[in-house]
Amino acid sequence: MEESGAIKKFMYLNRKAPYGTIYALESLEVVLIGAAFDQEVSLAFVDDGVYQLKKDQKTTVNSGIGMKDFSKTYRALEDYDIDKLYVEKRSMEARGLREEDFIVPVQIIDSAQLSALMAQQDVILSF
């Protein structure tokens, strides 16, 4: 199983808001680099992490906090064959968000489903 040719299930668990701390941005950097390794990858968004996928982020100097809006990078994930994006339902609803508020297509799942998915993973990188 540990041979270099083996394919593992990697889940990136995103828990933090996109700005305020650098976790979300640097998590996305790992996802992009990791895509070159041909593993089975999924991303899950929970707690304030659901804000990472919010449409219409305005963060630049003229319209916001003077930071680069990196949310468009999530749209590039499908070019890397990363299409399993999960949003935890209660986190989404608690923040007044709906499926149509997200910048990319996602699957809305409840915490029991997320828990079951996590149990199937070989590696969970929690940011």
């Binding site: 540990e2 593992k8 976790y23 640097e26 680099i33 990791g34 070159a36 390794f37 593993q39």
Partner: protein, 130 residues
Amino acid sequence: MKFGILVNEGPYQHQASDSAYHFTKAALEKGHEIFRVFFYHDGVNNGTRLTVPPQDDRNVINRWSELAKQYNLDLVVCIAAAQRRGILDENEAKRQGKDAYNLADGFRISGLGQLIEAGIQSDRLIVFGD
């Protein structure tokens, strides 16, 4: 068992590096293998040799360096995260035209691929963070 370790927080500010150190040391003493310790986010600050903690406190950086020496550990600091935060080795300082470097003994700077590889090669990847 073969472990990979990910340290996502800086020294002193956060317990994560202490916990990672104690876990790593205990695992090695029990005869387990540590494939690699990877430092990311503010975790890269565990790799600066310019840290000067008070004398009656633990020295988080030296502790990692000594463990690396004793067990031939692979301590890897993420280059992208390190450059943002001013952690440089001699080569990188030269390349970036900086007048100093600060990477501590026993650490090396490399890319995020080393983290993914640790995930692939280890039986368990343990994340220490916030």
